[in-house]
Symmetry: D2
Subunit: 343 residues, 4 copies
């Protein structure tokens, strides 16, 4: 059994790691830390876990993480940086769900996250944990930077087009929408049910932190410059991301459906829907699957790609476990086989 | 035009007062105070009011309330107490939406609200602002204690039965459910969309602050002792209260439908539904109407009463305006005529 | 008092007309027809209207519409066509909320609505009822074709850019999302709460009936050819449309905020938000206002316009009443002054 | 591997059986029938199952059920009756999720379900599938009548009190609320998102079909006459039942918390919460667990019991699988171990 630790287990990605790991056949969760909740049983905070874990939150200083084979960071941005070097030195692998090691250009990171980076020396070693583009590197990584929720959906959706050079990379649009769990479990008037429910809005149109991460990933795929307009929106629901992607085709000589099916045919967690289908976020609720459809409306030169994922699973904790499975030589789908909850 | 001031206008009962007063033909809102938001335009905080008010929040110390004919307190419990005496002395009427003056027994108030009452001398003068039981006293009041949201629904629902002595007053049950706006506009993890949405729970079963208020009101109606079990629940929606009331009939010789229709036949805001109807909270969303149905299931001795209201309107701001209309000799329905928003 | 009739009053645009007309100072609703519900009191079907209307649905054949000054059609597509000529001949004005008279090219209409047009001779006379582009023609119209819900938001959002020729008209994108009330009050598995709630999806990506209507309107504004990619989405909520519009600027030399404020400065129902604001659909729930924001993200050449409206009000019944006010020389805002319901 | 068939797989209990059986280690689903959808791939109707089943719906007449060890009926009431005898004769066990075999008194069944019972001879043999009261009989049953969703919650909640004779059995109240999935996957205006969302109502107050089923079960537990007032309500959400139960204690000499913990201490799917807790429906979403709390508010003689379950799992498909596990000598929790989805 792989011994797992979780840092910052009081947020939604923390409880989602626990939910998924509860039935993982090769894993034992041995430590979960939280400064604020140290000593409190995990299932007191998250009653869905009653009967599944006999763990209490511990103070990170108590050293319980030292017994782990791998530690997940489910912390706000800026936290993992300071603890990762020590863990790596002890031979413990790290999978970071925060943005700390996602962006290779330190200056760009510091600008968008508005703080100095305290561990720039490890940024180069960190492997960006998107298995569909980076599986080989993940196998041997000590430190994984898990992709953001929006970036996962946008990169998977554009991948077939960009890697074949079929669209103008300088004119990409990602119109994305996320459920409210993407904002985390923080006390905040703006995320009250009374403020979010029965309403819809865009936010961060001037610039969102996921923009540089997405652009870096798309450049890697395209092998050259890209330009993206990214507009996130907030959905009146808990889970789910839907990205509607727009690009301009530079050829008519392509079977888009076949292109997408071929690109992802060996991927266990990317499902290309039958031609003409519109994926619904509920079809992936609670599951690690990303579903994709591709259209060329009215036979014009615009391609429209629809991508859905569960922001807490493929967009965060599920993808983190997928990375762990790859790193430890387990079947990639271990612990991630359950179908989505529908209805 | 009646000059109106609002103290504590940044919460949901504050914005609801403004929404309703925006189209009131006999009222001008001249001041709205908030310590935290002083100087900020009201419509910056509440964009639905853009184009309706050219007001900024002002500091209560700035004295703008002095020009008012009537001041509404839409403040947390304990705030109105300290300001009311000064306003009354200046000849300004006060309508308090908080619980400060609702309970006549000071010791009971202090126990349930867990603080000393700083203005006990005015509690006796305050008139409990439930027009359906107290209209005459309201006409001449200087100080109105507006009923709580749950208490309004429970008192109206039991009134016909208790005032005629048709049920056992020692065995009353009120199973109530409220939308999340009842918890106010406070940053609080428990009221995030991600916590409340797609779920349902009871709360405060051991004891809820509205219990003593309801029992006091029911005693006044019954003219004697009552005993109530009150269980509130939290609904995954914004507005609306639904109370399901249970009592044991002490006679079979009563036409319940006729009883309810007769009791409320002159009430502009209580609508007794046709026999067999089940009122929906959405049928009163945004309106000051309370709809009621009465059943005697399976011909037994239990009577079941269903009551719906909008907790922010008949349960708070609309009822406050209804009180104002009565106090100032206006038509009781002024500013409160619009139908509910459905769907 | 203007005598108003409504044909097809059992759907959501029908009940919304009634809700808004209930407080309209210059209107009396004298007839509302429904074949299926003839004889049933209106407030039995829509309990929010109890106390507001003493009307029953009547059979259209009963002739009650003959006494009207104006008749609204809130019917499925294809119904108005057959009744309008007779009403116009009797001197009764008609405001059609369906698509029957929106598209000037009969062949295009017949292709998208998949039925023959039975009244092509009136299509030329019908005035497209978007006051912000067509007010003068509306004043003298006998027959108004009310714009669709999506088309209203997209045309208003692109208007300032297209009429000044500031963007490439051949590369326009409208990424729109609507609440479920846009699908009407039809028994349909796909629109059950259990299917729509807590989920999000695109639909009609290959082609949606509103596309030709929007393109016709944008051409009129631009004075030349346009090309639009239009992707509608279904929101897990009742009311509200949000359109996120993308276009490529052909100049940097424009103050977008000023452009929008100038364009709509005399419009009573278009509210240009302060720079940097993100309009929320809830800020217009129940009101006839359309709120717009404009961005130029990251200083690039893409302009992003955010538009919100209530699909049942500015997107349907409210706009129909606005047209009526203009046609009858009433203040344009009569009956449409109430602020949106928030929260 | 146990060979499983499902009759009527197009509804919500059908897809929920498939979702749960997808990861059941001892089961293979070999047939799923639907007259209306024969030939259609199951995952075309329910895209959450893509990649999990390679099955098409088949016509029940095609005989594919004959190869099964057990057949689940997820059909409307009245359907199982006609098919069960034939299957039993072939040695196939049957687990019926409908109401056909729940009520022992045929006349009562016929009155409440308003149709003749076509298979009364098997009603006596059918075992009521509530493991917590009936485990031994289930082990040897050929035909299981799965309890209704409301009845499961009410019987489990009252069980400790009734079997010890601690409350007045003639004065029981069950105030229950269910998510909309309880109404099934039928085209119906009343269950549209636009009708159910953002609202709450009681229904069936005069009498609901679950009343006789609950009373039969409570009598079995109490060993004597009971009288129940049962009021169901419709919640604006998909999954979850919450029952708030009221009874009058006939003794003060009881430790209620201990009573409940003792009663259910060996039950794998009944979780008695810590004293003072309020269970939330979301804590059991997608799981087979029923969580219970018990209160004695204000030290009076009323006991209040709170019970939550997922109506599609413990209230239907999960309980059906729990019954199957017991019948086939499998671990009772097989395929039912995953924690609830929260948030």
């Amino acid at each position: 059994m792989i011994k797992v630790g979780i840092v910052g287990g009081t947020g939604y990605t923390g409880v989602e790691l626990l939910r998924l790991l509860a039935t993982h056949p090769h894993v034992e969760v041995v430590a979960i830390t939280s400064r604020g909740e140290a000593g409190r049983p995990v299932d007191d905070l998250f009653p869905n876990l009653r009967g599944h874990f006999d763990l209490c939150f511990s103070d990170p200083a108590a050293g319980e993480l030292d017994q782990c084979d791998v530690v997940f960071f489910a912390t706000p941005h800026g936290v993992a940086q300071s603890s990762v070097p020590d863990l790596l030195e002890k031979g413990i692998k790290v999978i970071d769900l925060s943005a700390d090691f996602r962006i290779r250009d330190i200056a760009v990171w510091e600008k968008w996250y508005n703080q100095p980076h305290t561990c720039p020396e490890l940024v180069g070693e960190a492997v960006y944990g998107l298995p569909e583009t980076n599986r080989e590197a993940i196998k041997n990584a000590r430190l994984i930077a898990c992709p953001g929720c929006y970036p996962t959906s946008v990169q998977l959706g554009f991948k077939p087009l960009l890697e074949k050079g079929l669209v103008n990379p300088e004119d990409l649009i990602a119109n994305s929408a996320s459920g409210a769990s993407g904002a985390g479990r923080q006390a905040n008037v703006a995320n009250l049910l009374t403020e979010v429910s029965d309403s819809f809005k865009a936010y961060g149109v001037s610039g969102h932190r996921h923009l540089p991460e997405i652009e870096q990933g798309l450049k890697d795929i395209a092998g050259g410059q890209v330009n993206l307009t990214f507009v996130p929106h907030l959905l009146p629901m808990i889970r789910g991301i839907h990205s509607t992607l727009y690009a301009t085709l530079n050829t008519k000589d392509v079977d888009l459906q076949q292109l997408y099916e071929d690109c992802f045919k060996d991927e266990p967690f990317v499902d290309v829907m039958p031609a003409g289908s519109h994926p619904q976020t509920r079809s992936v609720k609670g599951s690690n699957v990303c579903r994709i459809s591709v259209f060329c409306p009215q036979g014009g030169d615009k391609v429209v790609v629809l991508v859905v994922e569960d922001n807490l699973v493929k967009g965060a904790s599920g993808q983190a476990i997928q990375n762990m499975n790859i790193m430890f030589g387990l079947p990639e789908t271990s612990g991630l086989e359950a179908p989505a909850l529908l209805p």
